[in-house]
Subunit: 88 residues, 4 copies
């Protein structure tokens, strides 16, 4: 049986704390793994910043990306920033 100092269910609290700490530890390992993969990619000559951009683009549909690029180009043109428009 657990004691409940101040009305706190000690065993239950400890269980929550331990579950959270275990999950946070797992999360840290995976975060480190991700960093390692990026570092390995960099070591193989890939551009990490662009790689992140690719990963982020893949979460979108092609037509979403296309629409965004179209609006961006309109804005850049309106601002006289043609030099910033890609792929001409």
């Amino acid at each position: 049986m657990s004691s409940d100092p101040g009305g706190v269910a000690a065993d239950q609290l400890r269980a929550f704390v331990e579950r959270i700490e275990r999950l946070e530890e797992e999360k840290k390992v995976i975060s480190d793994d991700i960093k390692d993969v990026y570092a390995e990619a960099k070591g193989n000559g890939f551009d990490v910043k662009i790689l992140r951009k690719v990963i982020s683009l893949r979460k979108k549909q092609p037509h979403e990306r296309e629409e965004e690029e179209a609006i961006l180009d309109l804005y850049l043109q309106a601002l006289g920033m043609q030099g910033y428009i890609g792929n001409e």
Copy 2:
């Protein structure tokens, strides 16, 4: 008169962009000022981490802080972490 390539009101867009850039510049100056004050405090022997804690506590009412400390102490006691309880 402004041209509206692709239906974009160029003058209006430029005005928004310039206002945002001016405000962001001002914000950067103030952020740098804050860093400088902390650095100056550190140079005068103050602990920056604790100083940040003080600033954050001052945004609370004393009774809020008191309540949070009371619950924290209950939890620490329940977990057998008495060594972490302050001010005995």
Copy 3:
């Protein structure tokens, strides 16, 4: 004259705290102003996400942006993601 409980220069500490709080208040006002300008731009039909992108691009040189786009397109092509490549 100021008292120094525990060796803390109270007047100096108070001065640092007040300077930081004043600067943080100013920073908050500017942050709110920036939000307001974006909201106003949105109210005038501009796409806030793309506007942020424009602001961020303007911090780069045209050739930097061009180089990044070129590498991005190479990667997208290598991955068979031609549909994501802009401006064809």
Copy 4:
């Protein structure tokens, strides 16, 4: 054999992208699990904010925490914020 458009090792790039996406997916699952545990703790009457504080304190040594509290109390006293000092 893989093709290398623009000198990009397509197979290698694809492998990196897939490893990163898999790891990010795993990380998301764990992040969601952590949120769920906190929600469950909240549902059992625990204060989530204080629980986070407990988890963060456990990463420190008791004497570190003790030292920080001692300095904090000195600062609060110097600022006439005695009402914010815990555990009297």
